[in-house]
Each structure stands twice: as C-alpha cells, then as structure tokens.
C-alpha cells in the first residue's frame, strides 16, 4: 500500500515535470531567434558604426556636390547657351525638390501623446493629412523631420517606426513639419473645425505652430531613378 502511494506521488510530480519540459521545449522552438543581451549589444554597436559611416559618406557626397557645382559654374561662365541651360537645370531641380530652399513659412511641432501607441488616429495618417492640408493651402516646399516631401515621398508605418523617404522615425518622439508659403494661410488651414490638428489635440497629441520669417528646408537627398516610366511624347 505504501509503495503504491509513493509511486503515485512520484507519478504526479512526473506529470508536472513533463508539462514543464514540453512547455519549455515549445517556447524554445518558438523563440529560436530570441535575442541574447550580447547579440543586442553587437547589433546596436553595428548600428552606431553604420550611422557614423553614413554620416561620413553624406559629408563626402556634399563635398563632391560642391565640386560639381563649381564645374557647372566654370562651364557656364562666359557661354550664353550653357548659362541658359544651367538656369533651366536649376529651375527644374528646384521644382523636383533637389535643392535646399528657404523662405517665409511655418513650423509645426508634433509631440505624440505619451503611452497611446496604436490608439486613435495613427500618426502616419495624421502626417499625411497635415501635408495634404499644407499643400492645399499653397505650400511650396514641405519637409518632415528634414525629409523633403516630394512627389515620390511615402509616409507609412513600418513595424514600430514611421518611414518617410525610406528613413525611419520613432513615432513616440517629436516630429517637426516645415513648410514654405504664406504663413497665415498655411496656419489657417488647420484652424477650421474638425481639422486634423483638432482631432490630434483631442487624442492628446501636442501640436505647436510657429510662423517664421525664414524656414530652411533641406533637399531631397536621394537620387530618383525610374525603372518603369518612359517618355510620353
């Protein structure tokens, strides 16, 4: 009798042990790619390295751009046709957003509500609405966090980040939208009832407007390439 009792208690404990083991096996095979601390550190180190690399390369690009500008100036000096072509080229570049520009405009600072990720109206839609409103109010150049808004700019949620011009931004941090145009008209676009800014403020996001005499907007810093588009004429 006593032996049976002991066997039974051993059996019950073995049920628990088996349960634990199989749960552990299952969760281990689920988390094959579970990151260890060392991996995380390695990856963040890599990220930092790549960031400095990117900065250095960007600096180099700027240097070379200056050289190209100098060449263009040298070529056009004294040649009327070339000068006209250069003017046209500059104009087209400005239209395409490939030059830094400045002028009167407004700056909109958006501080997303704390701890409300994933609730209410998503921030990427808010940004799209804001850009749309700015465009309809006659904005001539727009940038979000110094990413120039051009015809091929995307504003989408990618994972936990918001992707603008393929650059990722943390949607819990401050966003700065800059626009060049008539400052009061631009700001007025958001003062109408049920505007996007009103919705955002109801959600708890903080939106601050600043009319400025001189807004600097950086150029679109990618080389637009076309794979499918062909000349229509």
């Amino acid at each position: 009798m006593k032996r049976k009792y002991s066997q039974l208690s051993l059996g019950i404990v073995c049920v628990i042990l088996g349960l634990m083991i199989s749960i552990q096996f299952k969760s281990n095979s689920n988390n094959q790619n579970l990151l260890t601390n060392k991996k995380i550190m390695d990856i963040s180190q890599q990220l930092d390295d790549l960031k400095t690399q990117k900065d250095n390369l960007e600096k180099k690009v700027q240097e070379y751009q200056k050289i190209v500008d100098d060449y263009e100036k040298a070529v056009t000096a004294g040649d009327n046709v070339a000068k006209q072509m250069k003017d046209e080229l500059d104009r087209v570049r400005k239209l395409a957003g490939l030059t830094d520009v400045e002028g009167r405009g407004i700056q909109i600072e958006i501080t997303p509500a704390v701890g409300k990720m994933g609730e209410g109206y998503p921030l990427d839609y808010c940004l799209i609405e804001i850009v749309n409103s700015l465009n309809s109010a006659g904005a001539e150049a727009i940038s979000i966090n110094d990413e120039r808004y051009v015809s091929r700019t995307q504003i989408v949620t990618a994972g936990v980040a918001i992707k603008i011009n393929d650059t990722k931004f943390d949607p819990t941090e401050k966003f700065v939208v800059k626009a060049i145009g008539n400052p009061s008209i631009l700001e007025g676009a958001f003062k109408i009832p049920e505007s996007i800014v009103e919705i955002m403020e109801q959600q708890g996001d903080e939106v601050k407007f600043k009319q400025m005499e001189n807004v600097k907007i950086l150029k679109y810093n990618k080389v637009p390439s076309y794979e499918y588009v062909k000349e229509g004429r």
Partner: protein
Amino acid sequence: MIPFIGLLIGIILGIFLKIDIPASYTTYFPVAILAALDSVFGGVRAGIENKFDTEIFISGFFSNIIIAAGLTYLGDRLGVPMYLAAVLVFGSRLFNNFAIIRRLLIEKGRRKVKQREE
C-alpha cells in the same frame, strides 16, 4: 511504471495545452526544470533504496523549484549569474543520483541472477 506514464501524460498535456511562458520568465524556467528533474531522480533513488518518504519528496520538489527560481531572480537583480550555482549543484546531484541508481539497479539484477542460479 507510474512515473513514466505520468511523464508521458505531462509531455502530451504540455504539447496540446496552449500555455506560453512570458518572455521575462524564460531564464527561470529552465532552472526550475533542472530542480524538478533533480528531485525526481532523488525520489527514484530513494524509492529503489526503500527510503522513499512522500512528504519529504513532495516538499523537496516544490521548495527546490522555488529556491532555484528565487536564486535566479535574486541573481538577476544583483547582476550576479546566480543561476549558475543552481545549475552546478543540481547538475552534479543529478549525475550523482543517476550513478547511484545505476549501481543499485545493477546490484539488484546481479542478486536476482544469483538467486536463480542457486
């Protein structure tokens, strides 16, 4: 026999039940398993030696698990890998117990063979 059936039932239950360990407990669970394994081996050994005591076994099983997990937690807080202590102790005890179980079983077998020969 019953322990084996129990183990099988537990494993099957674990496979079919949708239980997930929260990610923050992933370090404690393996240590707890090791502690449980040690207790079970200890129990089997005691059973073979005819010294098995249910109360001691059950209380040892649970307190081992709790202490192992608690040590790991404490180690996490202090920044010292305390779970290594649990792994080392339970691991060496596992080997010890297993060696003794093996010896006892072999001796038992020999005795039986001798009895039959006589």
